[in-house]
Symmetry: C3
């Protein structure tokens, strides 16, 4: 049912779509079958929601990145978003333009995903996780509450990143200049697990199947299947099949 | 005053209730005397707001947990919420179904409290604090900004938890399977204080009156009235009545 | 264009103002030329938005602080907000009453700035950053995602604070009483850089041009131009002009 109190400018709407009161769906948005839009959600032009997508109250899909003035980095983006079948976009989540998200993924309350990001299928991007520009996240990867994923970062499949984990690419912290080639986020392999409160420094590579202890500060590359712990994180032992 | 621009489906509304423009109050919600609902708030069916509750713009009370697909855990909940007399629900806060909150509690901007949680009276659950499923929080406990409280966790009375503290129950981090009995959050006694940026590991018990230093990583149980500090946290000394 | 679906009570509106559907602009608010208000934003009485300010969906400008019951501290504030020319207020950001923000500043998604704060020009206060009461932030300072800036804190110009950094003033943590003179946040000089996940303890002074390593816990004053690292943070060396 489409509420008479919603603003619906598009007519590219599948069967069984539900749009609640005070939602805004702009001209040029496309809604698959059975899509459900809760009150106060905003869906901008160029957004494609596949069949069965649910968008919770206050979520905002299709935000234009703002680069004016204060940011060091030129902003490039396409004015489109694709959200896969059955994916759920939590209340007050913000999905910027030029984002693609796979099927069956859960975007938590207030999670914010910036331009040029690609997120796989069956992922969890939990509450208030912020993902910066131009980052790739694989399939079945879970990123828990209040964690920050930096820009220019690559994360594999079946990864678990716990709560309040920080990642950075800000070598600019020192130079104060944004130089594209020098701003590199971590490379995190597949089947990696990262404990709560860990910090991963810019440019670090974490090998497949590695395990990073809670509260660790990872300052250099981590070998595949290595367990590292501490500040700075040190190698403890190789871990085996119990993780699989 | 009830705005003609609000959607108000219930008639279970006390005297002196104020409902602002573009708020949505569903059939089956119950509002006590003097309740104040700001613009764009959404109150779902089965929610009881006691006398004098104030709900700020964009807050969402009565969210259905989404367990489909991506989450490992079956989701159980009752379709009701009870919010006690005089409690304040901040802008964009999200209260899931099957939550009870006591009287005179302050829920901060964007705080998010999941199903099966119980929060006491005169608490502060501050800005962007996320509380996971099935957690108990006592009375007069203050949890500050951007802290995460894990699921299956118990927190006593008169506790102070500072900003950006992480707690976890994710031994599943290693096994990758959700086994109900093995997922246990910390047990935090009464009158405990936890400093900013601390990490508390799964299953740890923190005794009454203990004090945990800022940035500590607590990997094992803490005795009552102990001061612990460091990575990993080590016992420093017993603390006495200055805390009372 | 002012949408017929918006609630606009003020007539103090400059040329070329855009107010979208379901926005609420109260009587006594003042909007400069070319101001753009997105859907579901709420602008309270006493708020002045200078020319070219853009307010994204769901942002709430002019929140009354709630001190009732649960908070230890008496709340004082003026019922006004000033937001400078060309500043951008992100989706779901919350600006309390008695806040002034300079020109060309970027307030990120869900950032929350409390009463008695002053933020300079050309700053970035990024996603879900929370700034507590009575804090001063200089010009061209960047505070990244999910960082908390405590109350009674002073931060200089050209500062970079990375993601998930915590600051505190809560010596009350121990005493449980709020005594105004004893609650002092850090003093952070100009051109300071603070790495991801660092904790800065109450009352610490960080000198101009200092650099604090990722994950450090800063327990005592840091000299100007010093590099400090570790838990607790220790002096490594003086740093020179490469930062400028």
């Amino acid at each position: 049912m489409i509420s008479p109190h919603a603003i619906v400018e598009t007519d590219d709407i599948g069967e069984g779509v539900d749009i609640a009161e005070f939602a805004v769906v702009r001209s040029g948005a496309s809604l698959g079958k059975g899509v459900r839009i809760h009150p106060h959600a905003v869906i901008e032009a160029g957004v494609r929601l596949d069949d069965g997508v649910e968008v919770f109250p206050g979520a905002y899909v299709g935000k234009e990145p703002k680069g004016a003035g204060a940011t060091a980095r030129a902003v490039r983006f396409d004015r489109r978003v694709i959200i896969g079948r059955g994916t759920s976009v939590g209340p007050h989540a913000v999905i910027y333009y030029d984002v693609e998200i796979g099927a069956g993924t859960l975007i938590g309350d207030g999670a914010s995903i910036r331009e040029q990001c690609r997120v796989g299928s069956s992922c969890i991007i939990s509450r208030y996780v912020t993902v910066n520009y131009n980052t790739r996240i694989g399939d079945r990867t879970r990123i828990m509450d209040l964690t920050h994923i930096t820009g220019n970062c690559v994360i594999g499949d079946d990864v678990f990143i716990s709560v309040l984990v920080s990642t950075a690419n800000d070598n600019e912290m020192v130079t104060r200049r944004y130089e594209e080639g020098k701003v590199v986020g971590p490379r995190i392999g597949s089947r990696v697990s990262i404990g709560e409160g860990a910090c991963i420094l810019p440019g670090v590579t974490v090998g497949d199947g590695a395990l990073i202890g809670a509260g660790s500060v990872v300052t250099k590359d981590v070998e595949p299947h290595a367990l590292v712990i501490g500040v700075p994180a040190r190698f403890v032992r190789k871990i085996g099949d119990e993780k699989l």
